[in-house]
Each structure stands twice: as C-alpha cells, then as structure tokens.
Amino acid sequence: MSGSVITARGLGKYYKLYARDVDRVREILSGKPRHQQYYALRGIDLDVQEGQVVGVVGKNGAGKSTLLKLLANTLQPSEGTVSIQGRVAALLELGASFHPEMSGHDNIYLNCAIQGLSTAQIDQVYAEIVAFSGIGEFIHNPVKTYSSGMLVRLAFSIATHIDPDILIIDEALSVGDGVFARRSFDRIMAFKKAGKTIFFCSHSLYQVEALCDYVIWIDAGHIRRAGAPAAVITEYGEFLQQQAPLSPGAALGLDKVDDQHGANAMHADDLPRIKTLRILLDGVEGKVQRVQSCANDLAIEICFHPGRNLPMPCVALMFVGGDGRPLASAGNLNDGCALSPGADGLVRVTAHFPRLPLLKGNYNIDVYLLCERGLHVYEAILQAAELNVEQRSLERGIVNLPHRWEVQCNVETP
C-alpha cells in the first residue's frame, strides 16, 4: 500500500435532458442552461489505495455503471473531482470498439493504441495477446468472421495485456467458454496477487464478499454504505430481501449460472465437471423427496472429475426457499474438508444432514462445483433436488435450530 490511486471528492454526474435537440445547441452557444438535470451519481467521496480490491454493489440503475465509466474516464464528471493515478483497463462491453472489417491483428493494434500504447509497446505485447486469446492462425482474418466467443477472448486479452495499474470489472470475473473462462479468471486473480487495484462491480454478492476487501453500496446515485465486505453485503442482502423475493438461481448471487452451466456443457476434457449426483433420504435415492422434519437423514453424494492440471475444485450446496431466497449453504472449503481423488481419478464426496432440521415447506437444493478459491463456477446444477418437508409439531419458521432447555430449581433470590 503506497497511497491513493483513486481519489474522488464530491463526484457527481448528471445527464442533461432537453425538450428539443436545438436547446442543447442554444445552451452550448449561449452558456445559458436550457436543460433539466437527471442525477445518476452525486456526492461520491472515494479514497482507493493501491492494491485494494473494491467491490461495488447496488440495484440496477443505482449508478454503478456511471461510477465505473467516470473512473474509466469515458464519462466526464458533472461536478466534483476524480483523480486517477496510473493506467486503467476496463472490462466493460468487451469488443465493442472492434472494427468488423479489420483483422484481429489490426484490431489489437487499434485497441492498444486507443488505450495509449505506442507501436513499440504494442509490438512487445502482441505475441502474448494472440497466445492468450487462443485465436491462433485466425488472427489475420477480419473479426467479422470470428465467433462471439473468439471476440470476447481477444477483447479480454487486449484489455488485460496493456499492463494496467487499475482494473475495472463490470460483472464478470471470467469470460468466454469453459477453458478460457478459467484462464481469464486466473488472469484476474493474478492481478490481485500482483497488488493491482481492482474495481469490481457485481450482483454476485458471494463473489464480492469473497474477493473484495472494501465494498461500496450505491443506492439512487449515493453511497449508502461503505466498509468491510461482510457488514455491507449483509445489510445490502437484507435490503434486497425487503425489496423483492429473489429469483430462483440467484441464491449464490451467481446470476449467470445457467450460462456457466451451458458453457461447461461444451467443456474440454481437462475442465472439472460433475459426473453423478445422488440425493438420498435415509438411503433412498430420488430427485424429489418427501421429508419428515427433524426425522430423516439427508445425504447428497457428488462424484466429479477434478480436471487436469488444475487445483482441486471445491463443492458447495445451497438450500433455497420456495421464493428463491437462499436459506443455508455448505461447502467443503469453508468446512475445512480436503478432497482427494480415488484410484479412477474421480472425487467422491457426500454431505450429510442428519435429522434434517428444516421446518415444513418446499425447498430446493442447488449444487455448485467451484474453483479452489470458491469463486469461479465450473458447473452449477440448479434445483438439483426438491424437498417437500412435512412436520408433526407446531414450530414456526424455516429451521428448527439445535437447542436445549435447562430448568433451574431451588434458585435463591438475592
């Protein structure tokens, strides 16, 4: 930590709304305001230290993207000041500035030049960009012939090879298909390890909490809360639950798990993948289980291929309520359970929930196969099991917490 790399004081951005197009011209010429102001961001004070990983959370339309664009210097502030030390790379709208008629080679030179690199500097990183993107011989073809995956790979490769001091990430910690997703994730983690400053904006509260060491919650253009990730994320999570029920699959805050799953459906052989998944209630297998509260033992048996030349993945489970809200989770990483493969190279692990203490209601279980850090999703099976819980007793709520009663007799009163 050697000082502030981003300093903002009273930073604000408003968009000017004009009744007629000509009013804008008249305003510019005369200097007399003829617009209405719509504030997207107001009164933002920031001091981001070198090497800090800052998370930004907030609802859609809260002002997150505007903040990122101000930091990326693609928008000018309407009020206040922002000072940025060092080169910024922004993973925003990847590939949007590619010219379809130009080759990948020329687009590399064009985009690097736009980012401020000289031709000599581009010459130095060109080979690395091509190698990392995996575009290979197609690099001399016009990018209009590339698939969307190739475009994203090339754009990501360019954005992360310009040696940025500050990396701005909007939503995705990884891009592209299975193999590249893992490589891109590793690259972002390498930035963190190298002490680069990262600004990470995401709806994935789990990833924000796991990755960041400072979190800003933006609401209606203002910083509503900022501080340690656990505290801010908890408060923001409660706020979200008050606003609206979560959609199924948003349990981990991994909004794009279906995409991830889809991508991994085409996975290469060397990527981790779930081979079999069994849901057992008192030893009887079934995807839909009728459970007696606090009476039946639930076991979730997962068999997965750990991939080749990759650190051992980890497994996580999420119990999700009928309204999509996450209720409880469990993961071998947090529980300190080390995994190892059997003789056939597959990893078999079972999570046991004795006398399942859920109270009556309908629940789903999502199963995740994650990277060794528990951040990057290799595979997600949403609604892997459905539990219909019944109960004989009259407890209310979601879960019967383990508890005991103690009655004191013959206590002397003072």
Binding site: D21, V25, Q76, E93, H99, M102, S118
Partner: protein
C-alpha cells in the same frame, strides 16, 4: 483587450491542439486511417485503388458532359477542361470532407464512447485520406494541364484548402451531431454553392445580376486564388486577405464551441 486575447488564444488552440495531439497520438491516428481504409475497401477486389481512382472517374464524368456532350470550346487564356479540373477537384475534396464531417462523431462513436480518447484528433483524421487522394489527383492533373511547375505548385493546394476548411469542419461536425436535419440538408447546400461558384463556368459567364454574389461568395475567392496560383498569374490579394480574414473570424468561435461541446458528445451518442 481581454476579448482579443481570448479570441487569439482560441485561434491558436484551434490550430495547434488538433495538430499537436495528432502528433502525440500518431500511432493511434495511423490505426484509425487503416480502419477507414478497411471500411472503404471492404469487399472490393481493387482495394485502395478505388479511393484513389474516384476523383479521376468524377473528372472523366465532367469531361464527358462538358467536352463530349456539350462540346464547350470556350477559352479564357486557358482551355475550359483545364479550368474545370483546376476548380472541380478541390471542390470535390471540400464536398467530401464537409459531408463526412457531419457524421464524424457517429462514425467514431464505437471507438471513443467506451475508452478515453483524444476526440480532438478526429478532424485531422477526417482530412488525411481525402487530402492524400485529392492531392495526388490534383498534382497529376495540374502537371498534365499546365506543366511540371504547376504540378509542383499543386502539391500544397489541397493541404492548404483543408487547413482553411478546419473551422467549417468543426461547425459541420457539431451541427451534424446536434441537429440531424443539417446532415440531410448539407449536400443540397453544397450543390447550390457549387453551381453558384465559378467552377463549371468562367466568372464572366455569370449574368450581371448575379455578379454581386461572386463578390459575397468566399468560395469564389478560393477558386480565383487556385486558378491564379496554378496558372502563374498575379495572386488576387483581395481574395487572399478575405479568405484569411474569414478563417481567423471562424476558427476562434468554432474551436470554442467544439471544446464546449466535447462533454456533450458522449452523452448525445
């Protein structure tokens, strides 16, 4: 005094800022030019040959109309075809640059709306390819019509014309962005200007009632200057001063408006 100083500062900024930034970002400028060439030549067999040959083809069209169809054999010290070429090529260059300027911001929106980008270099980028193409065509034409000395003199005509056009380019770019109607109307305005400027005819062929228009029309001065320069005649200093004065008068406000508008550009797009 303050006003004069501020005005001079704007003129100085208007001429130096785009040029200095273009030099500083010359690598980027070069890639933008390659981008433009890729756009122009995409899907063609002859590639960059087409932009180069376009002016020549237009000249052939005018020659066919006036020499073959109308059989015009008028002379005013020089043949009509030589006169026509001396004026029409700079005008076509002017026409192309101004019309493209109205769409300049939209054309480069994908480049500068998502990255920090020196927008001030765009007018220079806009001038480069037409400047090159029309300089070649004009130099060759002048050499063929008036001899080697005229060819040497012709080299500087298009670059100087583009420099003179800078304030108009800035105005057209901004008006094209903020008032889309301007983009639609400009081709018609330029067509009227071409017909009312002595390009397709000698100045003395204009009816007496319209002579005053020649005096008012700065493009008439432009044409008079080009013809005199190429043919080795005495320069019409009045025209030169009027063009210079107009340039100084327009560049300051144009640059001020351009700078004031930059924060609006990304918002509009």
């Amino acid at each position: 005094m303050n006003f004069v100083l501020r005005y001079c500062r704007q003129i100085f900024g208007g001429i130096t800022t785009p040029l200095l930034l273009s030099y500083r970002y010359r690598g980027l400028l070069w890639m933008l030019l390659r981008r433009e060439i890729a756009t122009r030549t995409s899907g063609t067999v002859l590639g960059f040959f087409w932009p180069l040959v376009q002016p020549a083809l237009q000249v052939v069209g005018f020659w066919f109309l006036f020499d073959v169809v109308y059989g015009m054999r008028i002379e005013r010290g020089t043949g009509f075809l030589a006169y026509l070429l001396s004026g029409i090529l700079p005008w076509l260059c002017l026409n192309e640059v101004l019309i493209r300027a109205t769409n300049m911001f939209r054309e480069f929106a994908s480049v500068f709306s998502r990255t920090p980008f020196p927008i001030e270099i765009l007018p220079v980028e806009l001038m480069c390819i037409p400047g090159l193409v029309y300089s070649v065509a004009f130099t060759v034409s002048a050499g063929l019509m008036f001899g080697a000395l005229a060819a040497v003199k012709a080299i500087i005509v298009i670059p100087l014309l583009l420099l003179w056009l800078l304030p108009l380019i800035l105005f057209c770019a901004l008006l094209g962005l903020f008032l889309r109607d301007f983009t639609q109307g400009l081709p018609f305005i330029l067509m009227l200007l071409m017909y009312s400027t002595p390009i397709l005819y000698f100045p003395d062929m204009l009816p007496a009632t319209m002579r005053a228009w020649i005096w008012l029309n700065p493009f008439s001065d432009l044409m008079a200057l080009i013809h005199a320069w190429l043919q080795g005649e005495a320069l019409p200093w009045n025209s030169l001063w009027r063009l210079g004065g107009l340039w100084l008068l327009l560049l300051g406000p144009a640059w001020l408006w351009f700078r004031r508008s930059l924060p609006h550009v990304r918002e509009v797009l």
